[in-house]
């Protein structure tokens, strides 16, 4: 759309280049646990209050989330390992410094990582451009130092951002942004310089939105994940689709809930034609094979519409 913020050209799913995933897979599946730390005593920058329930600290809400790192994360690994899932962690980078056992467990499994900010209690809304540049430098450097991996993408901390975020991400050398929910395939995001794309993350198939915010049962979460897969798997026969399941250890790692993750993965992984991958790999593959074609096709569509 040429409407503000004019970041994404209009490309209807019915009229765009056909995507072929490796080995003719129908669905590129990525699992994204949000490994986070919420500060005990954060600073309220005045836009969004990290702990709105009480004056700081809010021990109930703090410790509910910290449970994810002490208990939930480890329980969540069991079904993930059972099904051989290589995750793409949405990572608050400070976790690498606070909690080395978690860093080690993720590295042992050769996970990929996208930045989810430094802490989940520090949002981008109020950052100046220079502060945001420094933020990307910090994220890139911290990931490299602890894991040896280059940082390629970001889900904004608590899905926060600024109007300049895509430009500054691309400037810092990142290649994908997952705060966009407009498509079942990757799409280019227009930036001042460089190449940036959206890889579809999910606010629909997300234990935090579904179970915590909207109070649905975990059984329902499992049902909709399977229904999503069925639909995308059918459509993916014609042109590859992306499916993301977003998790939070403090939610999915509860004792009464973890079996539904096993249930979801058992169902999906029993199908042929699933490329179980990470957002890093999806982004590399799309940019290598489809970015230029998608941009050119959008341009042709716009010209055909007389604009």
């Amino acid at each position: 759309m040429a409407l503000p913020p004019d970041r994404i050209d209009y490309l209807p799913i019915t009229d765009r280049p056909v995507i072929k995933w490796p080995n003719d897979a129908r669905v590129a599946l990525w699992i994204s646990p949000n490994v986070e730390h919420y500060e005990y005593h954060p600073v309220n920058e005045g836009v969004r209050n990290p702990w709105p329930r009480t004056p700081y600290p809010d021990v109930q809400q703090f410790s509910y989330r910290d449970y994810g790192n002490r208990i939930g994360f480890w329980r969540m690994l069991e079904p993930l390992d059972k099904h051989g899932i290589r995750c793409c962690i949405s990572l608050n980078l400070a976790v690498l410094e606070h909690f080395p056992e978690i860093a080690e467990a993720m590295m042992e499994r050769d996970y990929d990582y996208m930045s989810h900010g430094i802490y989940n209690t520090r949002f981008l809304y109020t950052y100046s451009e220079d502060e945001e540049r420094e933020f990307y430098r910090d994220c890139i450097e911290t990931l490299k130092r602890h894991t040896g991996k280059p940082l390629k993408g970001m889900l904004g901390p608590a899905i926060s951002g600024t109007v300049s975020t895509p430009d500054l991400m691309a400037e810092a050398g990142l290649i994908y942004h997952t705060d966009w929910f407009h498509d079942d395939q990757p799409t280019p995001i227009k930036v001042n310089a460089g190449k940036l794309i959206s890889v579809p993350y999910s606010i629909e198939l997300n234990d935090s939105s579904v179970v915590r915010d909207n109070h649905y049962s975990a059984a329902y979460f499992a049902d909709i994940c399977k229904a999503q897969f069925d639909q995308l798997y059918e459509e993916g026969a014609e042109s590859g689709r992306v499916m993301c399941i977003a998790l939070h250890p403090f939610i999915i790692g509860q004792p009464h809930r973890v079996k539904y993750l096993d249930d979801i993965l058992s169902y999906i992984m029993s199908h042929d034609g699933v490329w179980q991958t990470t957002a890093d790999e999806i982004a590399d593959y799309y940019i290598e094979n489809y970015y230029d074609e998608a941009m050119a096709h959008a341009q042709r569509l716009a010209e055909a519409s007389g604009r």
């Binding site: 503000p4 799913i13 600024t162 975020t165 079942d184 606010i203 939105s209 049902d223 229904a227 639909q231």
Partner: protein, 303 residues
């Protein structure tokens, strides 16, 4: 104006008319239910102009977020890029032609969608300027007239036709709206959710009608606001239809459903729409029609 304790409605837009006081309504071929699927194609603005009105719980995105809210903006855009095609495919499979409520920003900036909807035989009706600019009584009469004209101008220039129907973004009206819509040359409005049959509105202009939507069957109301599981929503659609079909033997019913492509067009929800329509369309006694077809039939029956 607070109500005066006298007979009938406390506003001038339509008469008090309980179902039992009306002659029986017959649909074509003795159908019990007229099924009308309304699909809003509405644009969510990055930043709505100052002074424009949005409902407090405007659906989309994840939890309410501060500006810039990439999540909500793009979640809505999903309908325009992906969801609409999935939804229209399912409707087509069941022989249902949609009534598309298209706002001015969509009409102007998505020519592909205008053409696509027309090619598929949908009726397109006007839907204001954007979902982030509602009509309310905060507008002066001049502002409201200007708003309606801007919407109709964009519509005409995108489609080459004059719309017959109107659906305000988020069902928004001032206490003047039906009158102004009739004066602007429109024939029916979908903002009123108070009936299971079309009914005449009293505007003093040429005939003008309400095409009432079923409030609880609106996917935003039940799924987005009330958080109904989609499988329960599917069951509600079927049960609602069964009762209307039975009741429709005595006097025909209108089942007008508002389906947002960014919401029920999501991969995990579309199967529920498909199964609900299978249930409805496989039983006979259903007349699936566009808003104009229903209003034309109704007008012909009632004169």
């Amino acid at each position: 104006m607070p109500a005066q304790r006298t007979f009938g409605m406390d506003h001038p837009h339509h008469e008090w008319s309980p179902l039992i006081s009306r002659p029986a309504l017959r649909w074509p071929n003795g159908a019990a239910v007229a099924l009308c699927v309304v699909i809003p194609l509405e644009h969510m603005e990055w930043q709505a102009p100052e002074g424009s009105f949005q409902v407090a719980r405007l659906a989309g995105g994840s939890a309410p977020r501060d500006f810039p809210d990439y999540a909500r903006l793009s979640h809505r855009e999903y309908g325009h890029r992906v969801g609409i095609f999935r939804l229209l495919d399912v409707l087509e499979k069941h022989g249902v032609r949609a009534t598309i409520a298209m706002d001015a920003m969509t009409a102007e900036h998505y020519p592909y969608l205008v053409r696509h909807c027309l090619d598929r035989g949908c009726e397109i009706i006007a839907h204001g300027i954007s979902v982030t600019r509602m009509i309310t009584s905060n507008m002066s009469e001049a502002e409201e007239r200007e708003y309606i004209q801007a919407s109709l101008d964009a519509f005409r220039s995108a489609t080459g036709t004059q719309p017959r129907g109107w659906f305000g973004p988020e069902y928004g009206e001032s206490d003047r709206t039906p009158q102004l819509l009739a004066e602007a040359g429109l024939t029916y409005v979908c903002d009123w959710a108070n009936d299971e049959q079309p009914y005449p509105m009293t505007t003093g202009e040429s005939p003008f009608f309400a095409l009432p939507l079923m409030y609880e069957l609106d996917d935003v109301v039940s799924i987005s606001h009330k958080l109904m599981p989609v499988f329960e929503y599917e069951k509600m659609l079927g049960e609602s239809f069964d009762v209307m079909r039975e009741d429709g033997a005595a006097t025909g019913r209108l089942m007008a459903i508002n389906w947002h492509p960014w919401l029920v067009g999501q991969p995990f929800r579309i199967g529920s729409v498909d199964r609900a329509l299978s249930h409805m369309m496989s039983q006979g006694g259903v007349w699936s029609a566009t808003g104009s077809e229903i209003i034309d039939w109704y007008q012909q029956q009632s004169t």
